[in-house]
């Protein structure tokens, strides 16, 4: 506690840096994974190869990606852009599968009805498929949010500032309180984001609540 009270400002600025890496990566993962997941769902032959490929992405140890990405994208070795791209790769790896499952969970009869009442394909996607895919999508996004927030810490090993800096610095100087502070704040952010997304999911799908009340 003494360490924390003397270093509140450091922890705060690292928390902001942490969120500055995690939040863009989570949003980018969603924007990239949903179209890929929809395509993989629509084109059956594409589904299994895509899911196998993103499975392999997930097997890549994170540390080397922090060196590989700059050589591919030309971003700076210690820039936040590098960290955001690395985190997005893992986010996409998790979320593509959920997205494909989410669209598969939409009943065919619903889509046929939408066609029958004259919806265009474009409108079916935005007004029927996407909203109905939200529950499964949100479940996937919650996993991505939590694991991204915790993965950001690895960036500290290559010198990109985040709450993980408290781990490397604390380890070098032998200050357990510093490491514990980093751990607690990271987990707290992850839990907060998780709850926030769960709430968002509930707001976006009012019909699921309705059904539950009707059942009671």
């Amino acid at each position: 506690m003494k360490w924390l009270s003397q270093n509140v400002e450091t922890v705060l600025s690292l928390t902001i840096a942490h969120l500055g890496l995690a939040l863009p990566a989570i949003v980018l993962s969603l924007l990239i994974a949903v179209p890929i997941g929809r395509l993989a769902h629509g084109l059956r032959w594409l589904r299994n190869p895509t899911i196998a490929f993103v499975g392999v992405l997930y097997a890549i140890p994170s540390l080397p990606l922090f060196i590989l990405i700059p050589s591919i994208f030309g971003t700076g070795l210690r820039s936040s852009a590098t960290a955001i791209i690395v985190l997005t790769v893992y986010g996409v790896a998790i979320l593509v599968r959920s997205a494909a499952d989410a669209f598969a969970a939409v009943a065919d009869s619903t889509l046929t009805s939408a066609t029958a009442v004259g919806y265009s394909r474009w409108r079916i996607f935005w007004a029927v498929e996407l909203p109905l895919a939200v529950p499964v999508l949100i479940a996937g996004l919650r996993v991505v949010a939590v694991s991204t927030v915790s993965l950001v810490t690895v960036a500290s090993l290559v010198g990109i500032s985040s709450l993980g800096t408290l781990f490397t610095d604390g380890f070098q100087r032998g200050i357990i309180a510093e490491v514990v502070a980093g751990l607690v704040v990271t987990v707290a952010i992850a839990v907060a984001l998780d709850l926030l997304l769960a709430g968002l999911g509930r707001v976006l799908t009012p019909w699921t609540r309705h059904r539950r009340e009707a059942a009671v």
Binding site: A59, I67, V154, V187, A190, D194
Partner: protein
């Protein structure tokens, strides 16, 4: 020299393949850490998951625990354990076991809990004891899901076992950390490529096993025909 040329140079260097700290030795260490961690995690998580799954209540706790564990950054856990236990393999092994438990636990619980209640009741009705039901009805039916949990735990542990080199002189992560420190990125990328290939190999093995177990847990059509 470009990054890829450096990597190639590392792969063809004779030091890479023989002597102390060469690839065969690091690979064996990495596999030993992975196998040990998975064995420990399975010994803890499988019985608990099967027990809770068989009772079919208390599943909420498993889901909450698995989610909470995912939020713990492995690097932070490793650092705390490293400071507490000192340099060595103890810290990474405990940290990796904590990483591996949630997926195995979730797989065991959901696999067992998802076996058809009618099937289980039928087994009970013909006089099977509870332990017989678990062993010869629920476990075989749940095997594909349980293996799925072990599979994703394996993938995570193989990739994350590279962090073991942060506190111990062991595993393929050695190349990554040495390469990072000495800015020898050829060594770093080379070491990581070996980890990726290892992960893909292990995943394919699980894929093969999964195909076998799924097939054997489904009713065999040709079999029933022959019986008629």
């Amino acid at each position: 020299m470009s990054l890829w040329q450096e990597t190639l140079a590392w792969f063809v260097a004779s030091d890479t393949w023989s002597g102390p700290g060469s690839v065969p030795q690091r690979l064996l260490e990495h596999l030993a850490i992975t196998a040990g961690v998975l064995g420990l995690a399975a010994a803890i998580a499988l019985p608990i998951g099967i027990f809770i799954g068989h009772r079919r209540t208390g599943g909420g706790i498993v889901v909450v625990l698995a989610g909470a564990a995912r939020a713990i950054p492995t690097l932070g856990l490793l650092t705390i354990l490293g400071l507490a236990l000192g340099i060595g393999l103890g810290a990474p092994i405990i940290a990796l076991v904590i990483l591996a438990i949630p997926p195995i636990l979730a797989g065991a619980y959901s696999g067992i809990a998802a076996t058809d209640v009618v099937t289980v009741d039928a087994a009970r009705a013909v006089g099977l004891s509870e332990s017989q039901i678990v062993r010869s009805v629920e476990l075989p039916l749940a095997l594909p899901v349980i293996l799925g949990g072990v599979r994703s735990a394996t993938l995570q542990v193989v990739a994350t076992a590279t962090l073991a080199a942060y506190t111990a002189d062991a595993g393929l992560g050695r190349y990554i950390f040495t390469g990072l420190k000495s800015r020898d990125y050829g060594e770093l990328i080379g070491g990581s490529l070996i980890v990726i290939v290892l992960a893909v190999c292990l995943d394919s093995i699980f894929g093969l096993i999964a195909r076998r177990t799924t097939r054997s847990s489904l009713p065999k059509k040709s079999h029933t025909k022959r019986n008629q």
